[in-house]
């Protein structure tokens, strides 16, 4: 049973549930305590010991159901009929098959024996190592070879070649058994794949998306992207949205101690320690949704949306030629509604950075102070209009820092109508940011700078 449990842990790990050695010891002790008798009881107890978040509980449920369903295969299969069915046992015919255990088991209808045999063969060929969808056929065949299918096939061919009618009938029955085996091993490998590898594939996809340039992302990845971005935003938010006071242990605040202890004649009964205050980040995001960045705009907005979900003090603006406050839309609409609505309102028009900055200064410049970080998401391509560098300078002077994230690579900055080189001196940070990974790194840096202050 040790083996079974270890395999179960592997399946859990594949389903993104972390099982550390400590937890596996807990699980073993739990099983010792609970036993394998009561399935539901076992499931509940293991779940308590192993799954550590509500999401993990859900994956645990699936994984447990799938993993322990496999054991039921050990019962002889007398299922739906058709090609997959194991032929009825026939004792006198089975006699001359004694040198071929596989054929014997097939003929005697020993489903449990076959299942156990398959399990062992699978262990020998390492079916649990399956990684990719395309390996299923390969493993199914390897397992059967390991069980001695080739000998069986040879025997079937021999029997069929002969003239003897009873031999042919036997061959026919063995053929049926062979098909049953094929079917079973295919299903077995399928389950192995589901258990050990599918999550792996999903992760690969996620990782791929995180590294893909925003402008190359496709519409159909939108949901998945939303999930990834939200997860990232949440991670950032939990790390940085707390702890406003941080005590410096062991440093006496002498001034305040003396003041507080005046009533005690200056004898320091109440001591006061020094602490530093940590600010919560306050962020203004200005997002370009114009025609030139159209491909990336949806994802920039998606990011903005997720950030708005998790960061408390966020002001969000979007612009093409004019700039509008989109905070309300992000706040009150679902993501599927909010993004198209913003795009309809303001998106896909020719860019005019100067006008947008002017709109910002007119309406919202007051909110900037030395605690605010301004993030500008855009390519800096302004259609040769006046870039209003003067406003950019004021933005720079008033805020704590200005960060410009540009989806274009740096070598493109300054070509054509790009005004990046002129804006750049007024940004504390100007970076290329074309993938989700970039995005996360940059935001992480920003938030970190608050924690340090």
């Amino acid at each position: 049973m040790q083996r079974t449990l270890e395999n179960f842990f592997r399946a859990l790990r594949a389903a993104e549930i972390r099982v550390s050695p400590a937890e596996s010891i807990d699980a073993h002790r739990t099983v010792e305590l609970v036993g394998y008798g009561d399935r539901q009881f076992l499931k509940d107890s293991l779940c308590v010991a192993l799954a550590k978040t509500p999401e993990e509980v859900a994956s645990f449920d699936d994984c447990f159901e799938m993993f322990f369903q496999r054991q039921e295969f050990e019962a002889p299969d007398d299922g739906a009929g058709g090609d997959g069915d194991l032929p009825e046992g026939d004792d006198d015919a089975a006699a001359d098959l004694s040198d071929l255990p596989l054929a014997e088991m097939v003929m005697s209808g020993d489903g449990a024996g076959l299942a156990a045999e398959m399990e062992q063969a699978a262990n020998r060929v390492g079916a649990a190592e399956i990684r990719f969808f395309t390996q299923r056929g390969y493993f199914a065949r390897r397992i059967l070879d390991e069980m001695g299918l080739r000998d069986l096939e040879r025997l079937i061919a021999e029997l069929r070649r002969g003239d003897d009618e009873s031999d042919a009938a036997l061959g026919q029955r063995l053929e049926q058994g062979r098909r049953y085996l094929l079917e079973e091993s295919r299903q077995y490998v399928e389950r192995q794949y589901e258990l050990y590898a599918r999550a792996n594939g999903e992760n690969l996809r996620d990782e791929f998306l995180m590294e893909t340039r925003l402008s190359n992302l496709e519409q159909r990845d939108f949901d998945r992207m939303h999930r990834i971005v939200r997860r990232m935003a949440k991670r950032l938010a939990t790390r940085y949205s707390r702890r406003r006071k941080h005590s410096k242990r062991g440093q006496l605040d002498i001034r305040r101690t003396l003041r507080r202890n005046m009533p005690h004649d200056g004898i320091p009964f109440d001591v006061v320690w020094k602490y530093t205050k940590i600010e919560r980040p306050r962020i203004v995001v200005i997002c370009d949704v114009s025609r030139s960045v159209a491909a990336a705009a949806r994802f920039l907005l998606l990011f903005l949306y997720s950030l708005n979900e998790v960061v408390e003090r966020l002001q969000a603006y979007a612009f093409s030629d004019r700039l509008i406050d989109v905070g309300d839309i992000l706040e009150h609409k679902d993501v599927d509604e909010a993004i198209p609505e913003i795009m309809v309102k303001i998106g896909f028009r020719p860019t005019d950075y100067g006008q947008a900055l002017d709109d910002y200064e007119e309406g919202f410049m007051d909110e900037l102070d030395r605690h605010t970080t301004v993030i500008i998401l855009g390519d800096g391509r302004s259609n040769f209009t006046d870039p209003r560098i003067d406003i950019m300078r004021r933005l720079h002077d008033r805020s704590r820092s200005v960060i410009w994230l540009n989806p274009e690579p740096e070598s493109f900055w300054g070509t054509g109508d790009s005004e990046m080189p002129r804006y750049r001196p007024f940004c504390h940070v100007a970076k290329t940011c074309s993938t989700v990974v970039h995005l996360e790194r940059v935001i992480d840096d920003i938030l970190k700078s608050y924690a340090r202050a």
Binding site: S45, V48, K52, T53, R242, R244, V271
Partner: protein, 323 residues
Amino acid sequence: MTETATAIPALTVDGIVDGLGQVGYICSRQIATAIFVAENLSKPILVEGSAGVGKTELALSTAAWLGLPLIRMQCYEGLDESKALYEWKYGKQLLYTQILKDKMGDVLGETKGLDDAMQELHGFGDLFFSEQFLEPRPLLKALRQDGGAVLLIDEIDKSDEEFEAFLLEILSAFQISIPEIGTVTATVPPLVFLTSNNMREMGDALKRRCLHLYIPLPDAKLEEQIVAARVPDIEEKLRRKLVAFVQMLREQDLKKLPSISETLDWARVLLLLHADDLAPDLVRDTLNVLLKFEQDVDAVRPQLAELTRKSRQAGDRGYATHA
């Protein structure tokens, strides 16, 4: 760690369900299983779930059922060792040194030279850092209970990360090191509940040391049992209707779904108003007991007639059955 010496008599999951039922906490088998495993493995339980599903109540009820003292520690931002574990009674120390100043003179008057005086002082041991000057805080108290205790560390997610790290020693070995005194080990490991509202992700190290229990919103049947146990005076038909109504509310897209505590409050309100049926007007007037946000109330109000009608049907039919 194989044998646990607690005050709990031979435990079974059914026993736990019954026992908690006796003190008015109706729990699912999952919850009972968690307590069963926690007790046998001497591990703390991290209880998660949305506000008002009875996380804290679980600890209180367990303590009541087992007749163990409940020691509760409420976490908040800035909570540190001196509030959670122990603190030296600084004021008392200061006061005593002032009062004893003269006595010192008497004791040390006989001695010749500094060395002698030092020797003499050493003879008194750690006068001011002894038990008498130690102010035990919840964690230390819990470890020192000889008959075992239930320790509730409430809303652990509100505490700082440093504090979480500090808890690790206590949660895994049930012991604490106090530099001046030594290591305090629990004679009987307390049954520890940590609750979390998921304000932030808990660290992996902490999670690994705990069993994890997620309490979901209850299904209709369980919820009816809970209402019956907590508000026994309410009439059965009305109970069924109000639970059906709440269950339907939970399927709506709301900012804050009503949880068990809201259902119980509502049941009590209906009882107070001598309601014997769910009239739409009555529901409209008392909706703010269930829904805590103005937007939610606004969102539900238009469907109120429909919802009450359905829940009244459900109440007449039997247990609320809907997917």
